[in-house]
């Protein structure tokens, strides 16, 4: 009995091993090294980096680029997370019910998620082109002169958010699945009470989906602080006027363009702390909801 148990747990560890080894080698060790490098003068090429105490931390305080970068990232999260969530939830709920052609719409919503970031970004270079891009032409139909999207700081940020509004397939699928798990009788009972579609959304669907929505918000915050790297690089390269110099872009620039590897390591830690802080605020805000117990 004990022996069989021992063998079983042994085989469990054996199955876990490949993943565990990879996590340790590719994530845990580099993360620890990253913390160590953050307090050295490592340039990325230094053979023997020296410990420099809090020098890098002091540098954070009066780094004007970092201030721009922080602002760009926070602007992006504040606009992108709610809009992406709204799109995923809205489309998920609209397309959850079986209806003719539904599967084509669902596929269409998921499709941009399959497209590689770089390809989508190149596509958006065309979409946002001020002279022949479809977006400005569309605005033109309504008599609007259009924007010089990527050369104005604000519209450049909005352009990146617009692009990232499309790859929302994962959140969409989660909402779709969660909605389909809700008991149809709850809606019939509500209909009998005179609760219309909007009331059902407010009184039943959203409260019951709340745990899923919180999860998606947390996940999207983590994701959004990082995935804007590719669009920013392809669309704007951090410009104009550092408007899209998001933290991942700045970290990359510091580490591999300006030979500031140690400093970049420190900003990485900062990015992680900011992510954690935003998530903490989100969880505190929804703490009173019963569904999260």
């Amino acid at each position: 009995m004990t022996r069989a148990k021992g063998e079983r747990s042994l085989s469990g560890w054996a199955f876990l091993a490949p993943y565990a080894v990879a996590v340790v080698l590719l994530i845990a060790v580099p993360a620890l090294l990253n913390v160590g490098y953050a307090f050295t003068d490592h340039t990325g090429l230094t053979r023997d980096p020296q410990f420099v105490g809090l020098d890098n931390v002091r540098r954070l305080a009066d780094d004007a680029f970092l201030a721009d970068s922080l602002e760009a990232s926070l602007f992006h999260v504040a606009l992108s997370v709610p809009l992406r969530l709204l799109a995923a939830v809205g489309l998920g709920l609209l397309l959850a019910a079986p209806r003719p052609g539904g599967r084509w719409f669902r596929t269409a919503v998921y499709l941009p998620t399959v497209v590689p970031d770089v390809a989508l970004a190149v596509l958006f270079l065309w979409v946002l082109n001020p002279l022949y891009g479809p977006l400005n032409q569309l605005l033109g139909l309504f008599g609007h002169p259009g924007y010089t999207w990527l050369s104005d700081p604000t519209t450049a940020r909005v352009g990146v958010v617009l692009m990232l509004l499309f790859p929302i397939g994962e959140g969409f699928v989660v909402v779709l699945a969660a909605r389909r798990l809700l008991d149809g009788r709850l809606y019939e009972a509500a209909a009998l009470e005179g609760c219309g579609p909007f009331g059902q959304l407010r009184r039943i669907t959203l409260p019951l989906l709340a745990p899923v929505l919180v999860l998606l918000a947390v996940r999207d915050t983590i994701l959004t602080l990082q995935v804007n790297f590719v669009p920013a690089y392809v669309l704007t390269d951090g410009r104009p006027a550092n408007a899209t110099l998001y933290l991942p872009v700045y970290i990359f620039d510091q580490a591999f363009e300006f030979s500031g590897f140690a400093y970049a390591a420190l900003i990485t830690i900062l990015l992680m702390l900011i992510t954690a802080a935003i998530i903490a605020v989100q969880l505190l805000a929804v703490r009173r909801w019963r569904v999260l117990r």
Partner: protein, 335 residues
């Protein structure tokens, strides 16, 4: 008689694609009557309730409550409340909020809604559960919450869709009594759907037997039991069901038709005309049921006193009361 809150169904038809769920149902339930609707799964009982509640639109026919045609009346404007089989309580709301839900949707002020919810809960003996969530209540308590939710609407007609099916046997018995008491108190028109014939027989002023979307028979329980309108009703009501003998056989000839006899109308008698072998003995404590087989392969169930010490394989002779035979024609209708 003016049927203040009576229910009338006329020629009700509902099909889902090729499946005809309800096929021409006519039913008249006077105000204050409790009618049980019984039938096998898929007989159209639940669809009928959904048509009355307004969750489905009939393909043809009419639903009227208190003489008013409900064709174009949306569900929430019908004076009809429905209790679902699995109660359909909102898991994210407390018992109180569940009961108040409909009142709040109808813009009843919060204080008044709370008062009414409290009163309904008091009435059903769940006042101490008001601040709990449905998953913190037992099956029987949840069932009462669902009833309270119907109660606060003070509807003319209550529709109960298998309200006892999720309860264990003992609780089912006591809840059955409670439901009856409540019905007597409120005096509302009630349609109680069940597939449990004991429930149907004991609770209803009248019992409606449905099969394949049609009403096979409607009437007082004893009457339906004593004089089933067709072989379906004869075979459906009663446990064990009526013995049906095509052609009459040992029960006496019936050219082309069927003759039936209830297990309690057969008796052991050494001089009886029917010879049979005991297949099995089902002991129920206060009585026993013999499952027997005649030489020609016909199976007959016989209700007997307990403790007869008969064993499978024993040969017995049976007698029947000719006045208690049921005769049906070739189409299965009572003659």
């Amino acid at each position: 008689m003016t049927d203040g809150g009576g229910l009338r169904l006329t020629g009700l038809v509902k099909a889902y694609g090729p499946v005809r769920a309800v096929e021409g149902v006519d039913l008249d339930v006077p105000a204050g009557e409790l009618v049980t609707v019984v039938g096998p799964s898929g007989s159209g009982k639940s669809t009928m309730l959904r048509l009355i509640a307004g969750l489905e639109r009939p393909d043809a026919g009419m639903v009227a409550v208190g003489g008013q045609d409900l064709r174009d009346v949306p569900p929430h404007r019908r004076s009809v409340a429905m209790v679902f089989q699995d109660y359909a309580l909102y898991p994210h709301l407390t018992v109180r909020e569940n009961i108040m839900f409909g009142l709040r949707v109808r813009k009843v002020p919060k204080g008044e809604a709370r008062r009414q919810a409290g009163a309904a809960a008091e009435r059903l003996g769940i006042a101490d559960l008001l601040d709990r969530y449905p998953d913190q209540a037992s099956g029987g308590q949840r069932q009462r919450v669902a009833l309270a939710r119907a109660l606060v609407r003070s509807p003319a007609v209550y529709l109960l869709d298998e309200p006892l099916v999720s309860l264990d046997a003992q609780l089912r018995l006591s809840t059955r009594a409670d439901l009856l008491a409540l019905h007597r108190q409120i005096g509302s028109t009630t349609l109680h759907v069940t597939h449990d014939q004991a429930e149907a027989m004991t609770m209803g002023d009248r019992v409606v037997v449905m099969d394949a979307g049609r009403i096979r028979q409607a009437g007082p329980p004893q009457e339906v039991y004593d004089a089933p309108a067709d072989t379906f009703v004869a075979g459906f009501l009663g446990s064990p069901p009526m013995n049906l003998v095509p052609g009459g056989g040992v029960l006496g000839g019936a050219a082309g038709g069927t003759v039936g006899v209830r297990p309690e109308d057969l008796a052991l008698d050494p001089a009886g005309p029917i010879e049979a072998t005991v297949d099995a003995v089902e002991t129920l404590g206060s009585e026993a049921v013999l499952l027997t087989r005649c030489p020609d392969g016909l199976r007959l169930a016989v209700r007997t006193p307990p403790r007869l010490s008969l064993r499978p394989g024993d040969t017995v002779r049976l007698r029947f009361d000719p006045d208690r035979l049921h005769r049906f024609d070739a189409a299965g209708r009572r003659v």
